[in-house]
């Protein structure tokens, strides 16, 4: 049931930003990172700043604390912070980026948390040292008192055994725990404003849900204003009171969260929301045939990595990256594998292609020319014969294309090794392939660096379908792409599926993409499949508890759903 959140009557603004501009001088020129942006934020309110990379959202956040990296500088505007007594205002821009006055604000009145919990804490100082330091900087208390408060803060952000945790180092904690410690540090002097710069982007979705809930809870307790920077519309819908959309350094639109999602005013916002909402429901797909014909059947697959070289090179402990996986992929079917980092999903895909050699288990594969082979036990030479029909698409389109080879060399490589084509025939084939994936045919003598992420992923797809593809293992093929490009790439893959009768093993951490693209889905956790079934079934009525947690943790781009999630 939709309900207006309690912050509907926001307090008086504690921070007003007026006509802020930030410029970066670069080699022969100036980059206007932020152009004439104005907004304000009230006590107890959450303002989300949303935009794609390069939109200037992070720079805006840093400007408020005068943290802009050299050689960038604020060239215009005012940042007015309401004084404690409520009488006057302080212009942060006028304070400059050094000196006592700005330091009195940093950490004490406005605190900040960052994107990378892995590297935002010093690796050689204890967590406790870093938190107490903030308290001692700003308040006149003794060390014992500061330590007591630090422990209380860790307890508040629900880090277990806070006393003991104080004496530990950041690298002994998981990503989520580090972000909690960061939050504890930020809150140590009861700031009026918390700036959160993509605080959950580097985290898994279940951890993200916990951190978002924590931030919201702390905000309610303390009546803090929160400026939340993110690129994820789902997160926006879950946490924002008001939203400011930025594009190329300019403010596009500002509205309360409900109006923005219901009636976006600007074309850019509409396009952004449109491409996200498109992924919210499954693409139409033909019904599956009555009698399924398998193309690959994985049975009890295991892969163990030695954890330490051990004495005399004999390992004593193993990481069970794949721990007894069984899964069937049928002809013409798309099977999704969803899981968080460390679940073994990428390893599974790579093991099928024998990038890693499995420890035990079988992978039966029905060959194009008939016959069944076991991919798990084929020799290198026999495996090579299959590389024309079992293909792979990688996550990072920057890393998966050799920067030193031309597009022609890249796409023709599988033709060269798997067919007897002449150079001339290959040239023709590459042109056809490029046209097929929606790229101009005359780009084949260019190098990958001349292309954008989406274009490169199309080149990767062209390489994957170059010979006579039957089964394609797609490892997060859309994760590195901007939201607006994702469904385009997925639609291309779907068209090709119809055309070639392809089967996909589609690996992703993003349940929305899987739901859009796949017929069936397997949920992986710690090297095992915990649940498997029809994609709509699993998404709407998950049976396994982990699947339920996973699915409910995904922030849906619909602000009306937020209370259910918090429930």
């Amino acid at each position: 049931m939709p309900q207006t959140p309690m912050q509907s009557e926001p307090g008086a603004p504690v921070l007003r930003v007026e006509n802020l501009s930030v410029e970066f001088p670069v080699h022969k020129g100036l980059v206007h990172a932020v152009k004439d942006v104005s907004f304000s934020i009230g006590r107890g309110e959450t303002l989300c700043v949303v935009g794609e990379s390069g939109s200037g959202k992070s720079v805006t956040a840093r400007a408020i604390l005068q943290l802009i990296a050299e050689p960038g500088r604020i060239t215009n505007g005012r940042i007015l912070l309401k004084d404690k007594d409520g009488a006057g205002e302080t212009d942060i821009v006028a304070l400059g980026n050094r000196g006592r006055a700005i330091r009195e604000i940093r950490g004490r009145r406005i605190a900040m948390i960052f994107q990378e919990p892995m590297s935002s804490l010093s690796p050689v100082h204890t967590i406790g040292r870093q938190i107490t330091e903030t308290i001692l900087l700003h308040e006149k208390v003794d060390k014992a008192e500061a330590r007591r408060r630090a422990a209380a803060l860790l307890d508040r952000v629900r880090i277990p055994n806070p006393e003991e945790a104080l004496d530990r180092y950041s690298f002994e904690f998981s990503g989520g725990m580090r972000q909690r410690a960061m939050i504890a540090m930020a809150l140590s002097c009861n700031p009026e404003i918390l700036i959160a710069d993509e605080p959950t982007t580097a985290l898994d979705v279940t951890t993200q849900a916990e951190i978002l809930a924590l931030i919201r809870e702390l905000q309610r307790d303390r009546g803090m204003a929160v400026l939340f920077i993110t690129h994820d519309m789902g997160v926006v819908a879950q946490i924002a009171d008001r939203v400011m959309v930025m594009f190329k350094g300019e403010k596009v639109e500002e509205a309360d969260v409900f109006s923005l999602f219901e009636k976006p005013q600007q074309a850019y916002t509409r396009a952004l929301l449109g491409s996200i909402l498109k992924l919210e429901r499954p693409a139409p797909r033909p019904p599956r045939p009555e009698a399924e014909k398998p193309i690959a059947r994985i049975s009890d697959l295991e892969l163990h990595f030695p954890l330490n070289p051990g004495f005399m090179g004999r390992p004593t402990a193993y990481l069970k990256a794949i721990n007894g996986v069984s899964l069937t992929i049928n002809e013409g079917e798309s099977v999704g594998v969803v899981g968080e980092s460390g679940s073994g999903k990428t390893t599974l895909g790579r093991t099928l292609l024998r990038v890693y050699t499995p420890t035990s288990g079988k992978v039966d594969y029905w060959r194009g020319e008939g016959g069944v082979v076991d991919l798990a036990s084929l020799s290198r030479r026999e495996m090579k014969a299959l590389y024309g029909e079992v293909r792979m698409i990688f996550q990072d389109p920057h890393a998966s294309l050799n920067p030193r080879m031309t597009i022609y060399q890249i796409i023709s490589e599988p033709l060269r090794t798997n067919t007897d084509m002449t150079e001339r025939q290959m040239q023709g084939r590459v042109r056809d392939l490029l046209t097929r994936v929606g790229l101009p045919a005359d780009i084949s003598d260019r190098y990958p660096h001349a292309f954008s992420g989406g274009q490169r992923q199309r080149i990767s797809i062209a390489r994957a379908i170059a010979v006579r593809p039957r089964l394609i293992i797609a490892d997060e093929p859309t994760s590195a792409l901007d939201v607006s490009l994702r469904h385009q790439v997925l639609d291309l893959m779907r068209d090709l599926q119809a055309e070639y009768g392809l089967s996909y093993l589609f690996i992703s951490h993003d349940i929305a993409v899987i739901r859009y693209f796949c017929d069936r889905v397997a949920v992986m956790k710690r090297g095992q499949i915990v649940e498997m079934g029809d994609v709509v079934q699993v998404c709407e009525n998950p049976v396994h508890e982990y699947t339920r947690t996973l699915i409910s943790a995904v922030p849906r781009p619909d602000p009306r759903l937020r209370l259910q999630m918090a429930g």
Binding site: F24, G72, Q395
Partner: protein
Amino acid sequence: MSEPTVQAAADAALLDQQVDASRLQGASQWGLIWHKFRRHKLAVFSLVVVGFIYFVALFAEFLAPTDPGRFDPRYTYAPPQSIGLFVDGSFQPHVKGYSIELDQASFRRVFVVDPDVTIPIGLFVRGQSYRMWGLFETDLHFIGPLDPSQPFFLMGADRLGRDMLSRTIHGTRISMSIGLVGVGLSLVIGMILGGISGYYGGFADRAIQRVIEFIRSIPTIPLWLGLAAAMPREWPPLQVYFAILVILSLIGWTEIARVVRGRFLSLRGDDFVIAARLDGVSEYRLIMKHMMPSLYSHIIAAITLAIPNMILAETALSFLGLGLQPPIVSWGVLLQDTQNLRAITQAPWLFIPGICVVVAVLALNFLGDGVRDAADPYAK
């Protein structure tokens, strides 16, 4: 993994890159490297200097006014002459002659410039004959006195009255070639061992790493000295030259192996290499066509940075009398003369080969730094 702290700067740089990219869309690896290298002004200048030094090394016989071994006891420690361009108002490049006086206080012979004696000089003059690169006989010299028997010491003379300029030029050939050839030898060892180490990993990698660690922990000079001292005295100069090369390479390969191994190790896990493997590419083609091109520029940088170390090592060894021996002339051999404190107070120009060492080593280091920074034009 983006780097959030410098997010803004990175964004700006990205825009900057896009501007560049539009101009360099069709550029290959080498085009991009050159583009990046060119911005490093000091490195470009050093490239010119290094080019000049190797030019001198290549044409040593032609550029040197005389044979490095030609001596004339009359001109022991003769000071450098300076070139004058006009005689009595008409154009005639020349140097002044010497006259010898006896210093009454120290009873030493002192050279004074004799303003009355004019020795005309010129470019492309005939002098002592030599075999150019062992191919053909000629007596053409770039610069020299018109009359070859006249004294001509632009950089002074040494204890035996040999021309320091000629000797330094010939020393350039030996010293610079020791660097180049020595590094070539190191490269072969380093590439093979580093490649095996990085590509195959496992036991071979661990074993090779241990060896490298061990070699790097030994103080080099005592080891070199020990090996050099074991060389039989009666070996001919050329054999000594190659023996020194081998000794220096025995240690020099470790740095190249380290670079090659590191690159192979990271390349091995790179998506584009896995992609090539999944294209069914053969092992040989995978290494040669997909991995090696990413290595060349790094190897060039490593080589450029290894040459100066070779030069310094040869200089030190020869200086101590355990490296190259006269009559071979290298900068280190020439610097042996500076061990005599009395000699250098009397003839400070004996330091000139030392200046050459410093200049060559500096230029190679700057050049190497520039190449290294430009070596990976795709890095963000």
